[in-house]
């Protein structure tokens, strides 16, 4: 029996790993790719066309900081011309009003502006630079040029108690969407987890605050929340299932099933410089490895939830249990859950101040 290969729906394009920020939870890998290895405008243009032809609906331009690419306007135009919905995920730091108007004219559909926090001191400690005032300006420009706007607040132990301020800021800004995405523990965030993982009472409080905000703002601002999965009972359906909906292209052209897949040993990735995107999606080793259900072990193999969460996250299984093919240790149906429970117990046992002063941050560096 041949497995049916699903159609990819979204392409996450990491245009560069260069970034003016140094966030301690950056989703980029610890080994960053250099400027010299970045794909050219021509290759990206071809890949975007191939994506549209393959049935991809949305392109997410991200980085690093995608605005660091001088050809961004051209790439937005190419994506839009290939029938894609174009989303820009940015810190907003290198943006000015002229460039935003050019991006809008080239077909940018949506801007996702990331916030490290609303208190300049705390936000600067996280991002390693002062940024908040610039972001406030970007919000105004997006409104002036009628670009749809999502404010993305990255949540963690140190800012989870500032939710009400963030909600009030978003409400006033005129954004149509607010996303409160908890840090996910891979790469830089995994290295800094001890100081980022919130306490249980913070998580519980935040869920109730956001539920109230969601109900109050319905029809006005769309509120979305990504919970810290260590506190969940079942794993997240990571990437909507491996090789089912999404793919990510790194600055140098490797095509990955998710942001962190390179940390799993032994996976072989196709590269768009010498292979067609459709072929990579359909048959490359990395996509085939955990696609479908053949790879699953118990308890996933016979579990009713396997079509819902697809066994959770492969990278998390590797990082926490040392084996990418076991059930995500977040799942309370697996014995590996003991690993997560121990991490949570440590976090909740220590006095808050003890953690804050104990470890030092590992700041994200910049590639050559």
């Amino acid at each position: 029996m041949t497995a049916i290969i699903p159609t990819p729906l979204a392409l996450i394009a990491e245009l560069t790993h260069r970034c003016p920020l140094h966030c301690v939870y950056c989703s980029n890998p610890l080994e960053l790719q250099s400027r010299g290895s970045e794909l050219s405008t021509e290759v990206w243009t071809r890949v975007l066309k191939e994506a549209g032809d393959a049935g991809v609906l949305q392109a997410d331009f991200t980085g690093g900081e995608p605005l660091a690419r001088p050809d961004l306007v051209e790439l937005v135009r190419a994506a839009r011309g290939s029938g894609l919905y174009v989303n820009l995920i940015t810190s907003g730091l290198p943006l000015d009003e002229l460039r935003l108007s050019e991006l809008a004219k080239a077909g940018l559909d949506h801007l996702q502006l990331s916030f490290q926090g609303l208190r300049e001191d705390a936000a600067s400690e996280i991002a390693g630079t002062r940024a908040l005032e610039q972001k406030r300006q970007v919000v105004g420009w997006a409104r002036a040029h009628r670009v749809a706007l999502t404010l993305n607040f990255v949540m963690h132990r140190l800012n989870l108690d500032q939710l009400e301020e963030m909600i009030a800021f978003g409400e006033e800004s005129g954004a149509s969407r607010m996303e409160f995405a908890h840090v996910q523990y891979y790469g830089w965030a995994f290295a800094n987890r001890e100081r980022l993982l919130p306490r249980r009472e913070q998580v519980e409080r935040s869920i109730s605050v956001l539920q109230q905000a969601e109900a109050r703002l319905r029809g006005k601002v769309r509120v979305e929340y990504v919970v810290p999965d260590y506190y969940a009972k079942y794993p997240k359906a990571c990437m909507g299932g491996w090789g089912r909906k999404l793919m990510l292209i790194t600055p140098s052209g490797d095509v990955l099933p998710c942001h962190a897949a390179q940390l799993i040993p032994g996976l072989r990735f196709g590269n768009v410089k010498n292979q067609a995107l459709q072929e990579i999606w359909d048959s490359s080793d990395a996509f085939q490895k955990f696609r479908g259900e053949q790879w699953m072990q118990e308890p996933c193999r016979s579990c009713d939830r396997r079509a819902q969460d697809f066994g959770g996250c492969r990278c998390q299984a590797f990082l926490l249990a040392g084996d990418a093919a076991v059930t995500d240790p977040v799942c309370t149906l697996t014995s590996q859950r003991a690993i997560v429970d121990e991490i949570i117990a440590t976090t909740n046992a220590a006095a808050p101040a003890a953690i804050a002063t104990k470890a030092v941050w590992l700041y994200r560096t910049n590639p050559a």
């Binding site: 729906l9 549209g52 049935g55 609906l57 949305q58 029938g83 919905y85 989303n87 559909d109 949506h110 996702q112 009628r146 670009v147 749809a148 706007l149 999502t150 149509s176 969407r177 319905r218 029809g219 006005k220 601002v221 769309r222």
Partner: protein, 100 residues
Amino acid sequence: MKLELHARPILAAGCRLSEPNRGPRMLLMPERALRLNGPSLEIVERCDGEHTIQQIVSGLQKIYSKAEPERVEKDILGYLTLLHDQRALDFTMEELTGQS
């Protein structure tokens, strides 16, 4: 939210229809896409800031003349409310006159 029949729905910024020659028609919006079937596509195509909700209802009641008209109206209002809750729709209202 109570919908006013004389309001004119229009797709919100960041929400648009996929191009006609690229597979099934979709309503594209931030981080999601909604597949549109016959009636839902007919509704969304009329969310252009020109048609009032009343006109959309009458138009679809003609197309689906075998269905109960009340049912068609109820389904359309339900669908518009859903889109509005997802922040995919705005409504423009007639200017009020004589209130200067």
